[in-house]
């Protein structure tokens, strides 16, 4: 089930970040007490970049740092001024003199080089081979903003940004608990990206935590640029089109998952966090459902499920009925349908594919353009091309409605990743319907059903709570049950602590 090649399962243990514990290799250089040698060593090891600053502080202290990586303010206020003011004579006294929280000492070149590229200032004292590393990184990050891709009307309006520490602080704001576990990994042989695995101890299933930890540590890749890449690599089945882990930019949705016993992964430099295990149906549930009254949330959930079904099957059914099964068309539809198609020179399958293709083009163009132009292109393109296509007689206007409807419906999916899949699987189904009518549609349906049944998410069945059936969970995923009835956590993540609270009998409001 694991991702096969090229991420071979090497046994590099990157779990413990500081590498003092690892056995020293032969080519590892050691520091020298001489200042000139030290500077030269660092310069060689870092390819002597133009922003490498070497600064002397009399009498015998040398600072080396990379200009764009360290925080200037802290450097002047805390490091340089303290070193000038206080009298220091040994590396240990330097450590004591500096009021910086993260400060280490080492004599090994590889550790020191790794530290300088993560934003440390190296402090060397003539006559001592030990080098002090004061970590004062300059963290460039954009300010917090509303989540762009997962907006909702009611609820928190803050989204993750690209900084790992900001994201974790956001999560810690939602879950104020000492049980929140945070394990750090470094992934990427060349890029050394920090990855944090979060879960709540006492709820999360230990076996799942172990599995996920194993999958992350087993990764042997040279770079990791986004959490989406990571999620595809550690998926149960990377060959499937269906995502098995949720990518979200909403901290509240992330924390909702953690509270239900799921595991979360935050990747530095990525504004999307991973939540797993995730069942198929949960991709269609919005965080907002919890914030609305249950009747309204139920309505919008049912609306969404109908939308998905329409989106996948409406156009294929049109194609199948018009190509093969004219018998099933009700008499009242016959005349409008056949007249709207009277001028169309193509068979229905081609007509449908053409229209779907145009819609996808508009969407793709809209996504690539700046927001404002993108919207305009969508509206103008939709109206102009749609009207013109009907008038030119290359499509029928009834199909135009169907295609637009199914495109619209596919955007109701609260997860962008799943929405993409919904739109994609429509195409093969249309083609099958065009070849073999309803038989083709049924083939596709059976195939998708079996495919979904075969999938797992972190070992948990993907179609849970439908299969294996869990009555309560089933009810709570199709409709949203009122809170007195949802004292149990969903079964997907096999939580250790199964109950959210002690169920109380529902009290009528007047008692």
């Amino acid at each position: 089930m694991k991702f096969p090649l090229p991420f071979s399962k090497s046994k590099h243990n990157k779990e413990k970040a500081p590498e003092e514990t690892a056995a020293p290799r032969k080519d590892i250089g050691m520091m020298t007490p001489l200042k000139m040698d030290f500077v030269q060593l660092i310069k060689d090891a870092t390819q002597d970049p133009s922003d490498l600053i070497v600064k002397d502080i009399p009498p015998n202290i040398t600072l080396i740092y990379i200009d764009n990586l360290v925080n200037d303010q802290v450097l002047t206020d805390h490091v340089i001024s303290n070193l000038q003011k206080k009298s220091v004579d040994t590396p240990d006294s330097i450590k004591a003199a500096l009021s910086i929280p993260e400060i280490n000492a080492s004599t090994r070149l590889d550790v020191i080089v790794k530290s300088i590229v993560t934003g440390s200032v190296l402090i060397h004292m003539e006559g001592h081979s030990q080098v002090i590393m004061a970590n004062i990184p300059k963290l460039e990050s954009r300010s917090l903003s509303t989540p762009e891709n997962e907006s909702q009307v009611i609820g928190a309006q803050v989204g993750f940004n690209e900084s790992l520490s900001t994201n974790i602080s956001l999560i810690r704001r939602y879950i104020v608990s000492p049980d929140l576990c945070n394990e750090k990994f470094i992934v990427g042989r060349r890029t050394n990206i920090s990855v944090a695995l979060l879960y709540i101890n006492g709820i999360a299933n230990e076996q799942m935590v172990n599995t996920l930890r194993q999958r992350i540590t087993d990764l042997d890749v040279d770079s990791l640029l986004d959490s989406a890449v990571l999620s595809e690599m550690i998926d149960d089945n990377s060959m499937s089109a269906f995502p098995q882990m949720l990518l979200t930019e909403r901290p509240d949705r992330f924390c909702d998952g953690l509270i239900n016993g799921k595991l979360g992964i935050v990747v530095d430099g990525s504004s999307m966090a991973i939540v797993c295990p995730q069942s198929f149906i949960e991709f269609f549930q919005s965080r907002e459902d919890q914030n609305l009254r249950w009747q309204i949330a139920t309505f919008s959930r049912l609306l969404r499920f109908t939308a998905i079904l329409l989106s996948v099957f409406l156009t294929p059914i049109y194609v199948g009925a018009l190509t093969f099964h004219y018998e099933v068309i009700p008499q009242a539809f016959l005349v409008p349908l056949s007249e709207s198609r009277a001028l169309v020179p193509f068979p229905p399958v081609f007509e449908a594919l053409l229209l779907e293709f145009i819609i996808e083009l508009l969407r793709e163009a809209g996504a690539r353009l700046p927001t404002k132009i993108g919207q305009t292109i969508g509206i103008v393109g939709g109206i102009v091309i749609g009207t013109a296509a009907v008038q030119a007689g290359i499509t029928s206007n009834i199909l135009l409605i169907f295609v637009a409807l199914s495109a619209l419906a596919s955007f109701t999916t609260p997860s962008y990743m799943m929405g993409n899949v919904i739109r994609l699987i429509r195409f093969p189904i249309i083609i099958l319907a065009g070849f073999w009518g309803f038989y083709g549609i049924m083939l596709a349906f059976c195939f998708i059903l079996i495919h979904l049944l075969r999938q797992t998410s972190l070992g948990a069945p993907y179609l849970s709570p439908f299969y294996p059936p869990r009555l309560k969970g089933l009810a709570n995923s199709i409709i949203r049950l009122p809170y007195p009835l949802t004292s149990k956590r969903p079964e997907v993540a096999r939580p250790v602590d199964k109950e959210k609270y002690k169920p109380e009998p529902i009290k009528p409001e007047n008692s």
Binding site: F324, H325, E327, V328, I329, P330, Q331, W436, G437, F438, Y439, I441, M442, L443, F445, C446, F447, L449, I450, H451, L453, R454, P461, L463, F466, Y467, P468, P469
Partner: protein, 373 residues
């Protein structure tokens, strides 16, 4: 009894899923046109025959479960090896595997025939059989969990078909059912015997038993499934008798589908076209589980990987579909299968039950004697 099946709990299924397994294997292609065959003997009392057949399934299932319980965690193949010794046991096992193959093949070919007769008269048999077989292979390679899942969904997603039986009631008359019990008991039994081809499928119990987690609940869910199957067949039969008259029912090949022909909605007419295609989902568990049952037996005889087995099996089935071309051939095949199934599914398990009971008594006596000595 050294050939019991040892399984980790991960590979096992919950007992309540047995309900879906048994129910979905029973309902398949037979339901399309079983009315005519039963009606030939039992006339308008055919519904009593359906009830009798249902009763028989309960009795047989009871014997099956009792036999299986003796062995704890073993399937029919293992039991036969134990009871008859290696050679005869394996011979009987081969017969059972052959039976699974023929049943699989018959379901496949019958469904193809319905599609060809009803929707695509021009479509080639080999194409339909390849597409269906590929779907089945895909499901089979997913393992038992996936196949049981298909059973589950095929039952759940087909529930909406049952209310459709209300539509034909508009054209029905109760008079057709009277006078009750006009034909003699022999005809009723003959009618019940004709139900064999339609009602078989629950013999999967023999094979799936070791895979059930809480085996105590087996009989509860099996009987529940048999009951609901009987109920569905009974309601279809009752509606059909009331909807058709004798002459018309005897001439209607697929009475259930013709029954659906009247159903129309504001957005769709001719419901049977949808029903025929939708039936693919209903026959999938049939096919998958027969295939799986054959596989379970095969690995007792020879060492074969599941992938290799499924490809060989499907290739045979594929060439089989090419051989059986005409409707009379298919009907002959169904009749023979029905006859064979009557002995394999209905008579044999009772026999086996008696033999195991005798053997059990014999061995326990022997043990007692040994203890005395």
């Amino acid at each position: 009894m050294n050939n019991t099946i040892q399984l980790s709990p991960k590979d096992m299924i919950n007992a309540y899923l047995l309900f879906f397994v048994v129910h979905s294997t029973q309902i398949g292609v037979g339901v399309h046109g079983f009315q005519r065959i039963v009606y030939q003997d039992a006339k308008h009392d055919a519904w009593i025959s359906v009830l009798l057949a249902g009763l028989a399934t309960h009795i047989v299932a009871f014997c099956m479960i009792k036999t299986l319980e003796v062995y704890g965690s073993n399937d029919l193949y293992g039991i036969q090896q134990d009871v008859y010794g290696k050679w005869i046991g394996n011979f009987l096992n081969s017969i059972y595997i052959l039976y699974c193959f023929v049943a699989f093949f018959s379901v496949l070919r019958n469904y193809i025939e319905v599609i060809q007769a009803w929707i695509f008269p021009g479509i080639s048999t080999w194409f339909l059989s390849i597409t269906l077989l590929l779907i089945i292979i895909y499901a089979f390679t997913g393992g038992l969990r996936v196949m049981v899942g298909i059973s589950f969904f095929s039952v759940i997603l087909a529930i909406w078909v049952i209310p459709m039986l209300v539509f034909p009631l508009k054209f029905s008359t109760m008079d057709s059912l009277f006078p009750i019990l006009e034909v003699n008991i022999i005809s009723l039994l003959k009618g019940a015997h004709s139900m064999t081809f339609t009602i078989i499928g629950f013999e999967i119990l023999n094979i799936i038993y070791p895979f059930i987690k809480d085996k105590k609940k087996t009989s509860k869910y099996t009987h529940l499934a048999l009951l609901s199957t009987t109920f569905i067949y009974l309601s279809i039969m009752l509606v059909s008798i009331m909807y058709y008259t004798e002459g018309k029912l005897l001439k209607t090949v697929w009475a259930t589908l013709t029954l659906f022909s009247f159903i129309s909605f504001p957005f769709m007419e001719r419901f049977e076209f949808v029903a025929v295609c939708f039936w693919m989902l209903i026959i999938l568990p049939n096919l998958c589980l027969y295939l799986w049952a054959a596989y379970r037996g095969m690995i007792r005889l020879v060492k074969v990987s599941s992938t290799k087995f499924v490809w060989i099996f499907s290739t045979l089935a594929f060439f089989g579909t090419l051989m059986v071309q005409t409707r009379p051939q298919i009907n002959t095949m169904n009749t023979y299968l029905g006859k064979a199934a009557f002995y394999i599914v209905f008579v044999y398990p009772v026999l086996l039950y008696l033999i195991t009971m005798l053997k059990k008594k014999f061995t326990s006596q022997k043990e007692q004697n040994n203890e005395k000595i």
